[in-house]
Symmetry: C2
Subunit: 224 residues, 2 copies
Amino acid sequence: MSDSNRIAATAALLGDPARANMLAALMDGSALTAKELAYAAHVTPQTASGHLGKLADGGLLAAEKQGRHRYYRLASPLVGQMLEGVMAVGGPEPTRAIAWRGGEALRTARTCYDHLAGRLGVALADALSERGHVALGTDGGEVTEQGQRFLDEFGAAPAPGRRVFCRPCLDWSERRPHLAGRVGAALACRCFELGWIARQRDTRAVKISQEGLEGFREKFGIAV
Amino acid sequence: MSDSNRIAATAALLGDPARANMLAALMDGSALTAKELAYAAHVTPQTASGHLGKLADGGLLAAEKQGRHRYYRLASPLVGQMLEGVMAVGGPEPTRAIAWRGGEALRTARTCYDHLAGRLGVALADALSERGHVALGTDGGEVTEQGQRFLDEFGAAPAPGRRVFCRPCLDWSERRPHLAGRVGAALACRCFELGWIARQRDTRAVKISQEGLEGFREKFGIAV
DNA sequence: CGTTCACTTCGGCGCCGGCCGAAGCATGAC
DNA sequence: GTCATGCTTCGGCCGGCGCCGAAGTGAACG
C-alpha cells in the first residue's frame, strides 16, 4: 500500500513528457538553468517552473541558486539509475545506447564543458579529495589552504571571476562527482598545457599522452 | 527526445495508484488473476481490466489465459528492477525493505504457495533444465519423457488435475524463474516427505536438513 | 442447453493536471 | 534611481484519464 503509493507518486513525476524531457536533459549529470530546461522540454518558462518545483519537491532534482540564475541537477545518482531502469523497460534499445554512447574512450577521459570527466575526472576528484586539497559536499565544494598551495605549484591557480569556485558535477558514466567550476576548469586547462592530455577531432574524448600517464601517477597517484 | 518520450510513456503507466498497486502485488513474481489484482488495487473489475490492458500493451505485464481465468505477471525481471529503482528514489527506505524483507533465510529457501522458491528453488529449476528433464519457456514449460521417468523414480510424479502442469514463476529474490505448477508442487511435497526440508513457524522460509544437503547434491548436483 | 462466472467493452460523468498569458518578486546592470 | 532579465505565482481554459454501471464475450459445469 504505502510502497505502491510511493511508486505512483514518484513515477507520476516521470510520467509527464515535459518533465521526462527535463530529466533526460540532466541525465549527463550537468546542471542547467530553468530557462534551458524549459527550452529542452518545449514549454514556456512559467510551465517549466511548475514542473521543476514538483520535481524538486519530489526529491528528484536539487536546485542551486546562483546570481539570478537557478541551476537544477539530478538530486542523486539513484535518480539517474532509476531513469535508466525505466528506459531499459520502455525501449528495445536499453541503457547501453545511453550509457555507452561513444564507447570506451569517452568513459576513460573526456571534457565536460571546460573541465574533465570520465574515469580520469572522477579519479582526479577522488585524489584531491583524499589528500585534503578539496572538500566536496553534495551541493558545493571548497579548496583548502593546502589545496590552494598545491594548485598554485601545479600551475592551475583558478582564474578570478564570478563563476562558482569549485563544484561537483555528476559524471554520467561513473555516476560519481568530478571537479567542475573554476577549479575544474583550471585543472583541465593546465593538463592541456602540459601536454598530458589532448583534444581529438569530432569527439569530447581526450587522449592521455605518455607524459600524462606518468604525470597523473606522480602528481596525483592515479594509475589510469 | 525519443528517449524521454519512452520514459514518459512507461512512467505514466506506473504513475497511477491503481496500477502501482497491481505491480506492487506482482513484484514477488507471482501470477495473479484479473480479479485478484482488482481487489489489490481497490477498484472494480472493469476498471482493473482497463489498467491491465494498458500495462500489457506497455510491455510491463504478460498475460496468460487459463480456462476462464487470466493470469498476469511481470513481463520480465527488468520490470521488477525498474520498480525497485523507483522505490529506491521514492522513499527513504529503499530496496532493502522490499527485497530483503525477512532476511537471508528467505532468500535461501522458502515456499511460494505450494512450491519452492529462493536460491534452492532456482537451483532446482536450473538443474532440471540443464539435464533436459524440463523445458522452460517464458510462458510455460513442459516435462520431457526422460524428466517424467526421473520424477517418477524420485517419487514426485505430479498429481492429476487441471492445474497448469509446469510453469515458471519469477523469483523475487533471485529474479529468475523457479518451478511452479503441478510439477513444482509435487517436487516440493516430496522434499518435505523425505525430510530434506522442513517448514518453520511464522515464516515461509524452510530449513534444509543434513539429509537435504546430501540429497540435493546427490540427486540434483546442487550445493546449497 | 441454460446457468454461472471471469473478464472485457462501451458510454457517460467528473476531476485532476498541464498549459499559457499576465502580473509579481528578485537580482544585477547602468 | 530606472531598466532589463530570470524565475515564480495566479487565474482560467481545456483536454485527457480514471472511475463505475450496464451490457457483451467466452469458458466451464451440470
